[in-house]
Point group: C2
Chain length 543, copies 2
C-alpha cells in the first residue's frame, strides 16, 4: 500500500522556480571574458534560463539529448545548468584542461549536438573541429559586440542565441530519473568514462549539501565556488545555493589567481568557498605575501586531493578560517564525506586537532561506506585496517554512460568501488591512504605508496618521490622507491635510515633508484602506470 502523498517528481527546475519566486533579489556576481564584474540577480538568471530552455526546446531535440559546455564558472554557465537540464536535456560539462584527444573522444562519445563555449576556448575547438563533426552549433559565451570571428559550425553569440527565447517558458515535468547532466572522469588508464546524473540524484545531493553536515548555506552566506563547473557540477553549489537564497560569486577564468580571488572575496563579502588544495595554496601565498587577512570568509570546503596539514593550520592560525576537508569523486556527485569536528573532540590539543582534520571526514547521510580486503571481506572501523573503499547511495553512479555494465568498479552488485584505499576510525572518520592500483601488496598486507612518498620527500635532497610495487616471489610485491634528487643523491642506506622512524619497519623500500624526471598526468599527478612499465622487469636485491 502506497502512502497518499503527492507524486511530485524531484527536478532541477524546481530549484529555479523556488529561487526565482522566493529569492528574486539575491545576487550572482561573475567575472567573464566580456565583463570584469558582471552583477545580476536570481530573477534575471532564472528568467534567462527559461529563455534558453525555450530556444533549446524549439530546436526539437529528443529528450536527454546531450548539450555540452566548455567554460569557466560564470552566470551564463549557470543558466546552462538550469536551461539545459530544466528543459529535459543533458548538460554535458567538458573539462578544457584535458588533452585534445581526450576532448575529441568525450565530445564524440557523448554525441553532443550543441556546445556552449567560452571565447578563450574557441582556438582549442577550432583545432578539434575536423574530429568533432557531430556538434551542429557552437554558442559562444559573449554578446554580439564581443563575438569573435569564427568558422565553427553555426557559431553564434550566447546573447543572440537566447534573445528570442520566451521568458514565460514553463518548466516541463518529467520522471525524476531522467538524465540531467554528464561529466567524464579521466583516469590514468583507458578512455575517460562518463557519469550520468539524474534529476533525482542531483536534488537529493543538493538537499543533503544544504544540511549542517555539509555546506550549511543560508541567505546570510556568500559562496564562491572555486571548483570548476566542469568538475562534478562545482560540487553541487550551483544547485544548493539557490535552494536557500545564498549569493553566488563566480570567478570566471580567475580560478588560480590568488590576488584576484582574494579581492573578489573581500569586495563581495564571501563567507564560504570551496575548491581543490592548490587553489588554497595560491590564496594563502598571496595573503601571506601581501600581509593581508580575510574579513568575511569563515569556512572552506576542500577536496579533490589530500589537504596538507600546513594549509589547514595556516588558515586556522593566521586567518581564523575553518578548513573542512571533504571526499568525493565524479562518480559520487561528488559529496561522500565531510570533515566536521564532533563535539567530543572540542578539547583536542592543536596537534591532535590537526591530525583529525587531515582525514577525509565522515560519510554524509545518504552515503554508505565500507572498506574491504582482497577477499571482499568487510574490515573493521579501527583506524588501522586499510581496505578498498566502496560506497553506495542515491547519488552514487550505478554504471558509466555507454559502458553497459562493463566496469570493474561495479563488479560487486549495489556497490561502487572507488579505487581508493582507506581506513575508517571508530568515530567514522575516513582517511584515504592510497589508490587501489598503487598500493603495494606485501604478504597479504597493504603498504601505502602515498605514505612512503610523503615521508621520502621530507628528506632535503629529495625533490620528488614515487613508490611502486615490484614483483617479489615470497611477498608478492615489495616497494621500490624512485627518486628525483635535488643536488647530491643521498645513498640508499641514508634514505632507508631517514624513513625508518617514519613508517613501519616492514614498509621500508627494498631498493632505491634515481631518475631524472618522474612522468605526470595532465592534471599533475604521478603517472604510475608509466613507472610500472618502466620498472616492470626490475630485480629487487632482496629477491
Amino acid at each position: 500500500m502506497h502512502g497518499l502523498m503527492m507524486d511530485k517528481q524531484l527536478s532541477i527546475a524546481s530549484i529555479a522556480e523556488f529561487a526565482e519566486l522566493q529569492f528574486p533579489d539575491t545576487e550572482i556576481v561573475s567575472v567573464t571574458a566580456d565583463n570584469p564584474l558582471h552583477r545580476y540577480t536570481y530573477r534575471d538568471c532564472f528568467r534567462r534560463s527559461r529563455q534558453l530552455a525555450d530556444v533549446l526546446t524549439k530546436r526539437g531535440y529528443e529528450p536527454a539529448t546531450r548539450i555540452a559546455t566548455l567554460a569557466w564558472n560564470d552566470y551564463r554557465h549557470m543558466e546552462c545548468y538550469y536551461g539545459i537540464s530544466g528543459a529535459g536535456f543533458v548538460c554535458h560539462t567538458v573539462n578544457p584542461r584535458l588533452f585534445p584527444e581526450q576532448l575529441t573522444y568525450i565530445i564524440n562519445h557523448a554525441d553532443d549536438k550543441l556546445m556552449f563555449v567560452d571565447p578563450m576556448f574557441m582556438p582549442l575547438l577550432e583545432k578539434l573541429k575536423p574530429a568533432i563533426t557531430k556538434v551542429e552549433t557552437f554558442v559562444v559565451f559573449t554578446d554580439e559586440q564581443s563575438m569573435p570571428a569564427s568558422d565553427l559550425p553555426g557559431a553564434i553569440s550566447y546573447e543572440a542565441f537566447i534573445a528570442d527565447g520566451d521568458p514565460s517558458f514553463v518548466w516541463p515535468e518529467f520522471d525524476e530519473h531522467r538524465a540531467s547532466a554528464l561529466c567524464y572522469t579521466s583516469g590514468t588508464t583507458g578512455n575517460p568514462k562518463g557519469v550520468l546524473y539524474s534529476h533525482r540524484s542531483t536534488l537529493l545531493h543538493a538537499l543533503v549539501g544544504n544540511t549542517g553536515a555539509v555546506l550549511a548555506l543560508s541567505p546570510r552566506d556568500v559562496v564562491l565556488p572555486v571548483v570548476p563547473m566542469f568538475h562534478v557540477n562545482a560540487w553541487g553549489m550551483p544547485y544548493a545555493a539557490p535552494m536557500v537564497g545564498t549569493k553566488i560569486v563566480y570567478p570566471g577564468p580567475k580560478m588560480g589567481d590568488g590576488e584576484a580571488l582574494y579581492n573578489l572575496m573581500e569586495s563581495e563579502g564571501v563567507t564560504m568557498s570551496a575548491g581543490v588544495p592548490t587553489v588554497w595554496l595560491a590564496l594563502l601565498a598571496y595573503a601571506r605575501g601581501a600581509d593581508k587577512t580575510f574579513s568575511t570568509l569563515k569556512r572552506t570546503l576542500v577536496g579533490g586531493a589530500a589537504v596538507p596539514a600546513a594549509v589547514i593550520a595556516e588558515f586556522r592560525d593566521r586567518h581564523g578560517i575553518d578548513v573542512q576537508q571533504g571526499w568525493g569523486m565524479t562518480e559520487t556527485s561528488p559529496i561522500g564525506s565531510v570533515n566536521k569536528v564532533l563535539p567530543k573532540f572540542d578539547n583536542l590539543t592543536p596537534d591532535e586537532w590537526l591530525e583529525l582534520r587531515t582525514k577525509a571526514g565522515r560519510a554524509v547521510f545518504g552515503v554508505e561506506m565500507k572498506i574491504v580486503n582482497d577477499a571482499g571481506e568487510t574490515l573493521p572501523w579501527d583506524g588501522e585496517s586499510a581496505g578498498a573503499l566502496k560506497v553506495r547511495g542515491p547519488w552514487i553512479c550505478s554504471d558509466y554512460f555507454g559502458l553497459a555494465g562493463d566496469s570493474e568498479a561495479h563488479a560487486e552488485p549495489g556497490w561502487f568501488d572507488t579505487g581508493d584505499v582507506a581506513t575508517i576510525d571508530p568515530d567514522g572518520y575516513m582517511a584515504i591512504t592510497d589508490r587501489t592500483k598503487d598500493v603495494i601488496k606485501s604478504g597479504g598486507e597493504w603498504i601505502s605508496s602515498i605514505d612512503l612518498e610523503n615521508a621520502a620527500v621530507g628528506h632535503p635532497q629529495v625533490a620528488e618521490a614515487a613508490v611502486i610495487g615490484v614483483a617479489h616471489p615470497k611477498w608478492t610485491e615489495r616497494p621500490l622507491l624512485i627518486v628525483v634528487a635535488e643536488g647530491d643523491r643521498p645513498s640508499k642506506d641514508e634514505l632507508i635510515e631517514f624513513l625508518s622512524d617514519k613508517v613501519a619497519k616492514w614498509w621500508l623500500p627494498d631498493d632505491v633508484v634515481y631518475i631524472e624526471e618522474i612522468p605526470h598526468t595532465a592534471t599533475g599527478k604521478i603517472l604510475k602506470t608509466a613507472l610500472r612499465k618502466q620498472f616492470a622487469d626490475y630485480q629487487l636485491p632482496t629477491v
Copy 2:
C-alpha cells in the same frame, strides 16, 4: 533516458542505520511513566527498534498493516516510529486528547491490529474495548515489574514484547512510496480524516527540515520536542535529529508543565525546542514567576496556531531566544512555511520586526503555495489580498485514507486546499487571516473573523468574542459579533466605536449579540459550526 545513478529507495530505516553507525553515543533522554529520567543512546534505541521490528515481522502481518500508538513523547514511542515503519508497517499515532467516539472511529477506520499504549491511557482503552474489537494485542509502554493488571486483549509489557526480538534484524528494502505512518486530523465537522505518509515523503520532509531554512539541527544541538509524537510525527523531529546526530530530550507526560519543561531544558542543555503556543505561555509564565532565564535554549519553532506577538517579544527581550513561527497541518507533514528573518530586514525597528515575526513565514523548498479567490483565480503576493491557501509538494497529502478521492480539499487536481485564508507579502511571508469556513464573504470581498475577534477582545469588558457571517440579501453575508461580557455589557454603539479605528470601515459588524458562553471544541477552539446553527435565522438590523 534515465541517469545512471543507484536506485536506492528512500526509507525511514536508512535514518536508523545511519545514526546507529555514525552517532551511536548520542543520547536520548526521556521522562516516562516508569522512570523520571531515562537515558540511553542512539545505539540502544536503534538496536531495540530492530528487535521490535523483528518481533512484528515474525507475527506475519501483511505489508503496511496499521499498528497504533497511544502515548506521550518518549524513547519507546521513538522505537515504534522506527520499528513499525522500518519493518514495512504503518505507524498509526493516535491522539489521546480526542473524544472517546472519535478514538473508536479512528482505531476502527484504520483497522489497527496491534496497539502500543502508555499505562496512563489504559483506563481509557478499557472503556473503549467493546467497540475496538479488531485490535488483537495491546502492548504497554513499561516493563514487567511495572505492568498494571489489565483485561485488554493480549496485554503485555513492551519490554516483555520485544525481549526475544533479534537485535541482528536487518531492515528490509522496499518501494519508497510504501505507506509509513498514519495520523488523523480532527476538524470541527464530520469524522476525523487519516493522512497517510510514505517513506519518501517522510525522508524528503526530514531532509528539508535539516536545512538552515527550517530546524538547522547539528550534533551541537539538543532538541526537546514538546509537540506530541501523536501530532504529525512531532513535526518530523524524531526523523530529522538522528540524521544529524542531535541529542533528543522527550518530556513524556510533562508536556504542559512549565516548571518540569524548564528544569529539563536546563539540566539537559536544550538548545532548540518546538511546540504549540500554549506550551510557551506555560514556560514563560513559569520563568517569569520564578525569575529565571534560559542558559542554553537559543531558538524555538512554534506552530499549530498563531503566536501572540507578546510571546515572541518576551522570549526575545527577557531571554534572548528567537521564536520562529511556522505553519503546517497534518496534511502537510507538517512543515509548510517557517518565519526566518531575511538579511534585508536586519534593520527593522523592534515594532516592525515583531510585526514581521507574527507572520506564518515563507514557504520552505519543496512546498509551493498560492492564494486564490472564490473564482479560483490566483491572487497577487501583495500582503493585502486574502485568498484560500493552496499548497502542493512531495510531502503534501494527495487524498485521505479510505476516502478514495471524495474530498473537497483535493477538488483542484494537484493542489491541496488547506482550508486556511492567507495573505502573502511581496517577500513571500505568508500570514493566516482566517479559516475558509469562517471568513465572512461580503460583496465579493472577504472579512477576517479572526481579525475582528482579536480586535473585539481588546475591549476591557469583552471576555471572549466570536464573529460569524449572517445571510444578507445585498452583500451575501455580513459580520455578526457574538460576545461574552466581563462585567457590564458595553452597548452595541460603544463596541462598534471601539472597533472603528482597528479595522476597515466596511468590516464593522452589522450587529452585536451577547451570550452566556461560547461553545468550544475538544482542543479549545471556538466551535463556529454551533454558533452558525444557533444564529442561522438571525435577522440583521441592516436587512
